[in-house]
């Protein structure tokens, strides 16, 4: 079917009828010079058209897209690097700040501790002084009380001695003699 179609076309083309059907023992189609001119003309038109399309429109277009992508990637990478640098700087600033704050806190703590220590020391001293005074007072009172008690003891002793003498001798002794006798025995 295709062959007869080709032959019909060949007849339509006129002079090339034999050449078209030529493969039946005739010319091998690729070496049939009668259709060289047609092929060369078509090739020239097609290839020039292709060259113009490719060089004027297609390559700039695709190349532009690729370049734009390359630029975008490089821009994004630079942006990311910039952001990373910024965050690094922020981290460093934060750490410095944190160290400062820690040092400050330590200083304030030390200061407060020293102040409190000093205050408690002063209080302690005052308390001790007060206690010492109280102690001295108490000792003095004890001494007074003892002296009083001792003098009372002498009176009681003298009375007791007078009463004993009265009971034994039946006479009331002289108070002075009793007192001196009690004193003498208290001393002895």
């Amino acid at each position: 079917m295709a062959e007869s179609h080709g032959e019909a076309k060949g007849q339509a083309a006129g002079a090339h009828t034999e050449a078209e059907g030529g493969h039946h023992g005739g010319t091998f189609p690729p070496f049939d010079s009668s259709n060289y001119a047609s092929q060369l003309v078509s090739l020239a038109i097609a290839f020039v058209a292709l060259y113009l399309i490719v060089s004027r429109i297609a390559l700039p277009r695709v190349g532009g897209t690729i370049d734009a992508r390359q630029n975008k990637i490089e821009g994004d990478l630079a942006e990311a690097q910039k952001l990373k640098d910024e965050s690094d700087a922020a981290l460093k600033a934060y750490e410095t700040e944190l160290a400062n704050a820690r040092a400050n806190a330590q200083a304030i703590g030390n200061e407060t501790r020293e102040k409190l220590n000093a205050a408690s020391e002063v209080e302690r001293k005052a308390l001790e002084e007060k206690l010492a005074a109280k102690l001295a007072d108490a000792e003095k009172q004890i001494a007074t009380t003892r002296t009083n008690a001792m003098s009372n003891v002498r009176g009681i002793a003298a009375d007791a001695a007078g009463a004993i003498v009265q009971q034994l001798a039946g006479v009331t002794p002289d108070a002075n003699a009793v007192n001196s006798a009690v004193d003498a025995s208290l001393k002895g």
């Binding site: 062959e3 179609h5 339509a12 078209e20 060369l40 090739l43 490719v54 297609a58 390559l59």
Partner: protein, 249 residues
């Protein structure tokens, strides 16, 4: 059932465009596939998005861009980027038309020597004229390799000149022959399947499994070759252009 592996290479005029001298200029099936290739490349490169995160189509467009750009930079240096549009056009034109050509019932442009020869000559003359324009007479240093003893220099120069002028031949025939041979082999093996089936009946269809498996394997190979030959053509173009940019190695 007759196998005709050559039929696929027929040029069939679709309508006549005009006459140059006594040549008829027709719009042929080859012309149609050339414009299909141009259209597909234009669609790929222009219809794909311009997003920051590319989709699939945009990825393909960008990968082809980067692929060709890397190839040029590694073979011809950054100065070779002057020829980026040319090499990109050649590579994409051949790659897309070869890949379209692997689809059954399509036509493969580069299975015609005249097409590959025209492209090879385009590269050849670009190298020649740009080399002379940029380096003047120093361009001829490419024929005089450095460090060659003086007594064999004439012989080496003869070989270098010969190989320089044979470049378009090897450049074009390599692509042409690869595409032609691959497509013939595919057609022959695929034809075996049908031939066995129609001539031997049920037994033939069972036996046809073998050539069918071979056809599938060959098809995969042809997909690779379609890309690879376009790449080889492009990288050779880069290497030749490198001579024009940096003569004298």
């Amino acid at each position: 059932m007759k196998i005709d592996p050559i039929h696929q290479f027929n040029i069939e005029p679709l309508f006549t465009l005009g006459h140059i001298g006594n040549h008829t200029i027709a719009f042929t099936n080859s012309s149609l596939y050339m414009f299909i290739a141009v259209l597909l490349i234009a669609l790929l490169m222009l219809a794909s998005g311009r997003d920051l995160v590319p989709g699939r189509l945009q990825s393909v467009a960008e990968i082809s861009y980067e692929f060709v750009a890397t190839t040029i930079r590694s073979t011809a240096g950054s100065e070779g980027m002057k020829f980026f549009p040319l090499i990109f056009s050649i590579f994409m034109f051949l790659c897309v038309s070869n890949l379209v050509g692997v689809i059954p019932y399509t036509f493969t442009i580069s299975s015609h020597l005249i097409v590959t020869a025209a492209l090879a000559l385009l590269v050849f003359f670009t190298v020649l004229f740009y080399g002379l324009y940029k380096n003047g007479l120093k361009f001829f240093k490419i024929f005089v390799p450095s460090g060659v003893p003086i007594y064999i220099l004439p012989l080496v120069m003869f070989i270098e000149v010969l190989s320089f002028f044979l470049r378009p031949v090897s450049h074009s025939v390599r692509l042409f022959a690869n595409m032609l041979a691959g497509h013939i082999a595919l057609k022959v093996f695929a034809g075996f399947v049908a031939m066995l089936g129609f001539s031997l009946g049920a037994l033939g269809w069972v036996g046809g499994v073998l050539p069918l498996a071979l056809t599938i394997a060959l098809y995969a190979l042809e997909l690779l070759v379609a890309f690879l030959q376009a790449y080889v053509f492009a990288i050779l173009t880069c290497i030749y252009l490198n001579d024009a940019i940096h003569p004298g190695h």
